[in-house]
Subunit: 324 residues, 2 copies
Amino acid sequence: MKVLITGGAGFLGRRLAVKLLERGSLKGADDRDSRIDQLVLVDIVQGAPIRDKRVRSIVGDIGDPDFLKTTIDAETDSIFHLAAIVSGQAEADFDLGMRINVDASRHLLDICRGLGHRPKFVFASSVAVFGGELPEMVLDTTALAPQSSYGTQKAVLELFVNDYTRKGFIDGRVLRLPTISVRPGRPNAAASSFASGIIREPLNGEPAVCPVSANTRLWLLSPERVIESLMFGHDVAATALGTTRNINVPGLSLTVGDMVSALQRVAGDEVVNRIEWKADARIERIVSTWPGALDSRRALALGFPRDDDFEDIIRQHIRDELRR
Amino acid sequence: MKVLITGGAGFLGRRLAVKLLERGSLKGADDRDSRIDQLVLVDIVQGAPIRDKRVRSIVGDIGDPDFLKTTIDAETDSIFHLAAIVSGQAEADFDLGMRINVDASRHLLDICRGLGHRPKFVFASSVAVFGGELPEMVLDTTALAPQSSYGTQKAVLELFVNDYTRKGFIDGRVLRLPTISVRPGRPNAAASSFASGIIREPLNGEPAVCPVSANTRLWLLSPERVIESLMFGHDVAATALGTTRNINVPGLSLTVGDMVSALQRVAGDEVVNRIEWKADARIERIVSTWPGALDSRRALALGFPRDDDFEDIIRQHIRDELRR
């Protein structure tokens, strides 16, 4: 089978690629294991090369429909659509967010529709589709009320993926991903960037700023588990999904204070003291509208994986990233 | 002030135009009455002329962004966006639905944004944004899960109108309109067309086909009250609306059997016997996903009008339409 990953040079895309190559197969349209023969990675930037004969990396702007068309052909069986303008940037540059998160994504759906063979389409959505006056626990039946342009754009795509699926154009799966922590690497323009920074930088002996208060509740997922969730979401049988293709991927519900306590238990006071608490109204305004917990019973019943606790996630980060 | 109505030659658009001219004013951005000096009616077809110096009728395709731009200028204060590809047609012709219900509507939002003065934007949405496994009473907080392309497209616009409002580009108001009954005139391509046909045709001495079962529950609004609701939705103060601009316009919750009983009480057995009950799977599939009742407490608290009962609506139809 031939698999495409948009955002293939990004944090999630690259990890997913490596894991797919390692595993070597995904479930096809017939729900049976199918060997991955070709893996196409598309991104706006050139990522570090992956030395594997099955991989083809293409650099280009998915906002350009003519370019996008060249990345997909009749053999493309599965698409992981991970490319996006992140929350902070989509809020700062409205037109860019619309161009990539809505228009490019819709072109991608239309190209998939044109293939005629109903490819699998895994869409990375976000807890940012929720907002407003939220219940303590967000249910599958809670209304979408995004309070950011990023959340709006993700919600619009959720609707399209569901309708394109209902019409038989694609076999769509919408995965509402929790905030990923601990992301390796450097801070980015996502409003949630601090959720990794306050763990990662202190462990590296560097200072970190926490722009939200300690009682801010986040819905978190580890880098290891998010990749497993993306593959599981691809492989789950269409017949198990019912009238909605939206899946609340299981996360851990923690306050920022809980996260810092876990860091203290794993790494000690000296590390935790590198965090400076300095409120940032712009970040707080965005993050405070996101839900701190989602009802994931449906996903768990389907068999989605979940993290055990945040201390484990921190230890996983130390093992995988700091020891390099 | 200058007011634009898209779909201005349609059933709702024309009635709204006549009523606005009669009333002569709407509330401006300062929540004070402002005289309507110019009323622009845009539609794909030429409507029956309205002889009034304030009216300008423009015929063209709002799917063409260049045409659309010519209908709006710096003086345009308020837009009633009523033009749409109706439910049955949007399901049959997916691309046409997307072109008008999504793309043209978004161009309209972008033109409004370009004006820079935050015009009022009243968007006619629909109960079709709901679907799937619905609670008996649909609350403001019930998730959108449209089961038709029309409902999907309306839901997408709801999200955009809210985000454009949040960003300060427009002052948007989303009115989720119940099914209108009794519409005068002829049947149309809406899946809900029968909800008027089963009353209107028998009263005219003509046969009518009811394509759904008697226990199908509908959420209904009269032609008189829908026009009042559109004007009220325009005039309600922005400060009264809170974090969401979506408003469930109050309707009456009736089964098709209740509607026919009301017709029997008003017009007798001979009229009712002109209805032939003949199930149509295509119509039933669409209509059965719509909610039969919505929680409209918020709209009622804001002061939105509502119908008293369906017999009154039938008598209103006889008075206004049959006696002509």
